[in-house]
Amino acid sequence: MAGVAYYPGCSLRHSAIEFDRSTRIVLESLGIDYEVVKDWTCCGASPAHMTNHLLAQALATRNLRQAAKIGEELLAPCPACYQREKNAEVEVHADADFRAEVNEIMDEPYTGEVRVWSLPEFLKEKVGLATLAKLPTTDLSQLKVVPYYGCLLARPTELTGECDTEQPMIMDQLLAAAGADVVWWNYKTECCGASVGVPNKIIQQRLSEKILSQAEEAGADAIVAACPLCHQNLDMRQHQLNDAMGTSHHMPVLYLTQVIGLGLGFTVKEMMLDKHLIDPTPVVERAIAKAAEVRAEAERKAQEAAEKARKKAERKKQEAKAKNVEERE
Amino acid sequence: MAQATEKATGTTASWDGEGRVKVVGILCNWCSYAGADGAGTARLRQPFDFRIVRVPCTGRIDPLHILKAFEKGADGVLVSGCHPGDCHYAEGNYYARRKLELLERMLPQLGFEPERFKYTWVSASEAQRWQQVVTEFIKGVEKLGPREGRAL
């Protein structure tokens, strides 16, 4: 596979650095050679596309152009970046006239055919669930997680290719492959309120609260997200939210790649779990410990069984001997 | 207004006036002609430079009729019938499809730009599609302008 262009985007540089690190570590350990897009610019998420279509698409296309210098594929872990870049990809590739228009206003033209990948999509298609399922060394079977897709990973179908935008499965599958215990719930794609988080905190808190309580309802130890913004709302603002709404949620929120990384045997430290405000470390360690117990228990049972079998065989031998003796006499 | 009516009886809006192209349509009675009727009933605006000949079925059209139209000075010819499978006579458009496809492929050899001929399928219920087909086709012919063809 030719080099994959890696587009971090603003969040992964700062607020979601742990997402960036865990992702890179996972990619490296999976033997995927990626290269960070040189001289990348803002993807235009949130403000640009609401203001001016051409400029917004040009902004995103510029990154495609930069990526083209690396290879034919661009991985954008942040769903917001993914959406903007994908959007540009689809329109620019389909409409030659528009591409010309965009090139018109860019410093140098984009002539390539770069395909944009979202993180889950990339892992599933490029690594494959079967392969991934073989790799885990740490047993996460006792870690109950609910995958939270948010609004940007699954929708809209014509962009993401996800056929069931209400109940996407790709993160469920990846987490299962990583060995975690994936729990079914109904809030996979509910809005976390990110877009109004600043102007209207109340709404954001109400929406995020629903997600948290639903996760508890489903009996999850943690929510697994793949979006820095969702993570911010659910993790960073969880205390705020508790105060404002008089709730007492304590629901860790992990990044997809953190869970996969843990599965692959990386430590809590390496996966930077300590970066989270709701510290997931206890939950994770408890789960891993419990898994060990469960395994031990299983082994003990197995041994007992083996012992029984051995004894039985012994007895048979004895009886047989006795029989022979009688016969001789 | 007065001037308009005077124009109406005069020939200023004539088909071979400045910047006009002459496009002939040959439509099957059951699907496309009805589709064009539907477009009319729905008051869907369509280009002026278009005259329709009604035939019972695209299977009744001989490629030579189209060549004849060109010879007589048409700048473009559009043939339209029932979608494959929907022919009122079951098979007509299947036969037509082969003949018209060959014609379409031969015309460039005779010195025709491809945009001057098109065959397509428009059903009786596709008024909108009809408007779009005829508008786009004529736009294509207008781009080329009238033929000063010599061969045919």
């Binding site: - | 009886t9 002609y33 009805a34 064009a36 605006r45 001989d62 000075g73 098979e91």
Partner: protein, 661 residues
């Protein structure tokens, strides 16, 4: 040649953008035109009289009427000129309305184009020659495809009038969708009480033959003389022996999904859909039968008192002759699971379709009329639980472009109101019943009053707005929606959600249409010849429509239309002979080179080899068989075949005339 040209104003429909008067005057210059006239409404009585008068006084021998589409009034005007003693085929129409005045805004342009169209019509009319219709014997038997209420009504009306009718039904019993219904709006009278007697009438009527569990494979021929291939599907039960005692169904050990109950219950591999089935005969669903799947069992064979079971039975093929065909194949329920992911795509047991709920309300249904939550149905030591809150959501697969169904399904508003009332009636007035709607469409007689009753008398809560999401939470179905009147989000914890799934074209409708050579719209509903002038006919002479196969319909409309269709068929078959269109192909044998390509390409087998006196063979078209498509005309290399009324020369002349400068 003495041609008369009559230009219509059609009030302002044409005159607004076409100077009818002016172009009428100009048409006088055209070769052969001796009389021109512009008329306000040409199709009106005075209009037609004007034409006839002109024909007589100016003894015209050709007539051109420039007005609307020939599909609209060609027939009318042919009759007009015939009335004046002129051969009706010496007439041509110029379509200056649909193809001109209605699609152009600029009057000078409109007038110019209209004039060109008249030029073409005149050019064509010059080439026309008098034609004389041919007469064929008419077969008076009628085929009705589909045994739903529409088919039943048509069949009975026709049979009563003395015609022999064959009803072909693809299921094992007639009755169709109406047989599945519990009550009917707006009277809340029992559906079965209306339908089943009619079904029995069908079965017992001497003039009606019911061919259940059969399909139409192929249709050949033409009005008055159709030849139809019918396939009786193998039911694995000899229906001549079967007495419908249901013993096999009781004893059969293999469960199978129950289509009649819309899958909310199971039936057996060998089954009779419902007790009042007509004909009441059993059939085996091979995919679920243990004998066919595992090669053991044969219980039904053992228990059958009539020894009717026949595991070797094969499909039966037969060919029948008919004079007319009525298509009454009805509709299907919109498969919402495939489209509405936000409603759980069928994952949530307590979210069901309207027709499934109908079965539940039905006294002869799987719950014997008791309304229960499907999630609590058919489980061991779980007492089926009655819902306390029921939510109805309207316009599922109707008026929803996102699922490719922009049309209104016509019945959902009303059946939802009915089911809402019945819910209150069955479960008790204290049940909470909500209806989420876009608009209430209660257009029929007594409909609006009916909906009002639901709201006032029964206290059904109507919420104007769409439901955005359904999901399970704490054993309830969470209904999240919008009340657009209050402008607020609403959330309801429901025990049961009923989706008013709309009507979609019957499965396989377009394939059938292709077999019948009738047109259908993009949704698969069959197309009537003209919405107002010929609403019951198709574009293919002798084939008629009845019921929801043409468009979504409720029962009253369907039955009314069915009777109307019966009347149309009677009108057609009242004659002993039918005039066939003389606009057909004819061979000039003096030029025929006997290459027989015409025979090769004709879809109808009209051309034949005819021996001449000199012993040579030439092509000849059998007039009654030719349908006038003209495929042979376009194929004949010497062009010795011509299509009367659409002659090759007339096509060329129209083109030449209009391109001439």
């Amino acid at each position: 040649m003495r041609i008369g040209v009559f230009v219509c104003h059609c009030g302002t429909n044409i005159a607004a953008t076409v100077d009818s008067e002016g172009i009428a005057a100009r048409a006088g210059e055209l070769k052969g035109v001796v009389h021109t006239e512009d008329i306000i409404y040409t199709c009106s009585e005075p209009g037609q009289q004007a034409i006839q008068q002109a024909i007589r006084e100016k003894n015209l021998d050709r007539v051109v009427v420039a007005a609307c589409s020939p599909h609209m009034h060609e027939v009318t005007f042919r009759r007009t000129v015939e009335g004046a003693g002129l051969n009706p085929y010496l007439f041509e129409m110029a379509n200056i309305r649909e193809h001109c005045s209605w699609i152009h805004a600029d009057k000078p342009e409109g007038s110019e184009k209209a004039y060109d169209l008249i030029k073409m019509a005149v050019a064509k009319v010059r080439d026309l020659e008098p034609l004389y219709a041919n007469e064929v014997e008419v077969n008076k038997d009628v085929l009705v495809i589909g045994g739903g209420v529409a088919g039943i009504q048509t069949a009975l009306d026709l049979a009563e009038a003395g015609l022999k009718v064959t009803v072909v039904e693809k299921e094992t019993t007639i009755g169709g969708t109406m047989a599945q219904l519990d009550k009917t709006f707006p009277t809340i009278d029992c559906s079965a009480c209306i339908l089943t007697p009619r079904m029995v009438d069908c079965a017992q009527h001497e003039n009606i033959e019911i061919m259940a569990y059969s399909e139409v494979d192929r249709v050949q021929g033409y009005v008055g003389n159709f030849t139809v291939d019918i396939r009786k599907k193998a039911s694995m039960v000899d229906w001549d022996k079967c007495i419908g005692c249901e013993l096999c169904q009781q004893k059969c050990p293999a469960k199978a999904p129950d289509a009649f109950n819309e899958g909310i219950a199971t039936t057996k591999a060998i089954y009779i859909p419902f007790p009042q089935a007509v004909p009441k005969r059993a059939a085996i669903q091979v995919d679920y039968c243990r004998w066919f799947q595992e090669g053991k069992c044969r219980v039904c064979e053992r228990v059958c008192p009539a020894d009717a079971i026949d595991y070797e039975q094969q499909d039966e093929y037969m060919q029948k002759e008919f004079g007319a065909i009525v298509v009454a194949t009805g509709q299907d329920v919109f498969p919402w699971e495939e489209y509405y992911h936000e409603y759980g795509s069928g994952r949530i047991p307590d979210v069901i379709s309207g027709l499934q709920y109908e079965r539940m309300l039905n006294a002869s249904g799987p719950t014997h009329g008791h309304v229960v939550r499907p999630s609590t149905m058919g489980q061991k030591d779980v007492e089926p639980e009655e819902p306390k809150t029921v939510v109805f959501i309207q316009c599922i697969g109707s008026r929803d472009e996102s699922v490719g169904r922009p049309y209104c399904s016509n019945v959902c508003c009303m059946y939802t109101a009915k089911q809402a009332i019945l819910t209150k009636d069955h479960v008790g007035m204290e049940t909470e019943v909500y209806v989420f709607y876009i608009d209430i469409r209660a257009f029929g007689k007594g409909y609006e009053e009916f909906v009002k009753r639901a709201q006032t008398e029964f206290g059904v809560k109507y919420v104007r707005g769409r439901v955005s999401k359904l999901y399970e939470e704490r054993g309830k179905v969470k209904v999240r929606g919008m009340d657009t009147l209050l402008g607020k989000q609403v959330e309801i914890d429901a025990d049961l959600v009923v989706l008013a799934s709309g009507i979609t074209a019957a499965d396989g409708a377009s394939e059938l249409a292709q077999r019948l050579n009738i047109s259908y719209d993009q949704y698969g509903f069959f197309k009537e010849s003209h919405p107002k002038l010929r609403p019951l006919e198709t574009n293919t002479a002798g084939i008629f429509l009845a019921g929801a196969c043409q468009a979504p319909k409720d029962i009253p409309t369907t039955v009314a239309q069915a009777s109307g269709t019966a009347a149309k068929v009677l009108g057609l078959l009242a004659k002993d002979k039918l005039k066939t269109s003389p606009m057909i192909a004819r061979v000039d044998q003096s030029r025929c080179v006997s290459c027989w390509k015409c025979i090769e390409v004709c879809p109808f087998g009209a051309p034949e080899k005819e021996e001449l006196r000199d012993g040579s063979y030439k092509s000849h078209i059998i007039e009654t068989v030719c349908q006038g498509c003209g495929i042979c005309v376009a194929t004949c290399p010497v062009n010795c075949i011509d299509l009367k009324g659409f002659g090759t020369q007339s096509v060329l002349d129209q083109i030449e005339e209009v391109l001439l400068t």
